[in-house]
Amino acid sequence: MIWFRKRIQPLETIARTGFLTSLVSYITFWLFDIIQPGFVSRYFSVHIFLLGAVIFGLWWSSAMDDYIERPGIQLLFALVFGILLAVLTFALSKDMSGYRLILSLISFTIPWIVLRLLKS
């Protein structure tokens, strides 16, 4: 067996760090702004981190040579975001009465559809 030391791809590493940091920051700042309205949005838009995530994400995808398929993590993310979307839809659709449950279920399926589209 021959052991190779993993070589650092500088641009990919930076782009990945930027993407993950932006994504985690976006979720964290956004949650804090929901818990305490104005915590962030009084000073700047929380979506600035989303913009960062998109830019770094695009960069990362173009700089990436190969990647490891992790279906378990993908399914976990789809499940978490599906539940989150369903809860948000249910909470924000009080006026939709009879359609509320159906809309929540449709919301739950969106991450799965997106995942399927990305994989295809």
Partner: protein, 474 residues
């Protein structure tokens, strides 16, 4: 190479951490003081633009290169949105006022009824006076003839009460009616008064006695309990009477019968007593019975409608010493012709404030149909013989100091400082003086009486705020 990559990674990760730390600092205000500045025309998350647009002009650039916005009608206001709880706030206003006698800043302190705690920004009556002036510890004393050398000598040997006019302060020399004699004859104020009111009465060798007959009209949801608190001249509570809800907390508009709340306090020393009648808008006082020879309501009265009490309504009549009052009705049934000293003031449509400036002396006001909110600074007697004015003369925008029959003016007032062309004044509000909406918003209003009548304007350039929080003791 690896080092630089790691360094860039570190920078990318540290940036949001620093940002979060900064936001947390803004939120927790560890220093105890949070500063925010607002120049007119520029957005601020803490202070809104001046409103409404009908009472303020467009933001414009002054000759000196500063943004300014004119206030052209009264009152203009703005909202403050503190991002957390604060114990107090200092509001610094940069403004210009060349014409108006009094410019004040008022914090909305209650909404039912709407009341403001007014504090001075600029008093040109005091500023322009040729009387001798002493400024000391936030107080000002004007003297027609220079008799006192300091405020200490003024306080230690004060002049007679009717020789002094006051501005936003109290005068501690007690009010006494030497020729007063108590009456045993009960008098009845036959007037429908809606909700919260305040009145003053004079007591000397007699019991304080008030019987309130009222109805719970059940037009709003919730309990409608009443409390009447009695305060002495030191502002201390000395007695209280309470009545609970009629048992109907719905908003079915089914009125209770005529209920009665009695207040009797014996053994009070001679003096002026203030009654604060705390009641929600559902409570309509229909009659007030009292043997007291002197009793006047203060500043604001809400003459209620008489639906389900007596129809057609009888309305009411009262006497007041106010120099200016405004009134409005909220219903079409309240449209009527009010008479002020024989002159007609038409209340032509609901939700429109109408102004009357009766001038000096006691004015007689007839309200034929009731259902009218009347706001003023003055005393109101529903029985003429009960009228008295236990408070010193107040300096208002309508005051002509030279013709006023006083020799002294005592005020809690500090002259604005000059910053270039601007006058700069600071007023402080405690959080307990401000009514906070559910999201903590405070409403602050400019009081600029006569600004429209004089066809003039007050210019505002900048509003700085310092929010103070009580830090926990370590």
């Amino acid at each position: 190479m690896t080092f630089f990559v790691r360094l860039i990674q570190l920078v990318i990760i540290v940036i949001p951490i620093i940002l979060f730390g900064w936001l947390a600092t803004q939120w927790f205000v560890p220093s105890g003081v949070f500063f925010s500045s607002h120049i007119v025309g520029q957005a601020s998350p803490f202070i809104t633009e001046l409103q409404p647009s009908s009472r303020v002009g467009e933001v414009r650039m002054s000759d000196g290169g500063n943004w300014e916005q004119p206030i052209v009608d009264d009152p203009a206001f703005f909202f403050m949105h503190p991002h957390r709880e604060f114990a107090s706030v200092d509001v610094e206003v940069w403004f210009k006022n060349d014409t108006l006698g009094v410019v004040e800043l008022g914090g909305l302190s209650s909404v039912e009824p709407e009341r403001y705690t007014l504090k001075p920004l600029h008093n040109k009556i005091i500023e322009d006076s040729t009387w001798s002036r002493i400024d000391q510890d936030g107080m000002v004393l004007l003297q027609r003839n220079n008799r006192y050398e300091s405020l200490e000598s003024f306080y230690s040997n004060p002049p007679a009460r009717n020789d002094v006019a006051v501005y936003r302060t109290d005068y501690d020399v007690p009010y006494r009616l030497d020729s007063y004699t108590a009456s045993s004859v009960t008098k009845t104020m036959d007037v429908s008064l809606r909700g919260h009111h305040e009145l003053k009465t004079y007591i000397k060798d007699e019991a304080l006695l008030f019987d309130f007959q009222y109805m719970d009209m059940n037009r709003d949801e919730g309990e409608d309990s009443i409390s009447v608190l009695v305060f002495n001249e030191e502002g201390l509570p000395v007695a209280e009477a309470r009545a609970s809800d009629d048992g109907n907390i719905s908003m079915d508009a089914r009125p209770s019968g005529l209920e009665k709340l009695s207040l009797r306090v014996d053994g009070l020393p001679e003096g002026v007593y203030k009654l604060v009648i705390n009641a929600p808008r559902d409570i309509f006082f229909r009659k007030v019975h009292t043997p007291q020879s002197k009793a006047v309501f203060l500043n604001t009265v809400f003459i209620g409608d008489e639906v389900a009490y007596r129809e057609p309504p009888d309305g009411t009549r009262f006497w007041t010493n106010t120099e200016r009052m405004v009134m409005q009705t909220r219903h079409a049934e309240g449209v009527q012709d009010v008479s002020v000293d024989g002159e007609t003031l038409s209340i032509a449509e609901p939700y429109q404030w109408y102004e009357s400036v009766p001038g000096d002396g006691l004015s007689e006001v007839r309200v034929p149909a009731g259902d009218l909110e009347i706001v003023m600074e003055g005393k109101i007697a529903f029985i003429k013989s009960q009228y008295f004015n236990p408070d010193p003369i107040n300096i208002t925008a309508y005051t002509d100091l030279e013709t006023l029959d006083v020799d002294y003016v005592l005020g809690e007032y500090v002259s604005p400082r000059k910053e270039g062309d601007w006058l700069v004044s600071i007023v402080s509000f405690g959080a307990d003086e401000l009514y906070a909406e559910d999201d903590g918003t405070w409403k602050i209003s400019f009081s600029t009486p006569l600004v429209a009548q004089f066809d003039t304007e007050v210019l505002v350039h900048k509003i700085n705020t310092w929010f103070y929080r009580n830090l926990p003791k370590l």
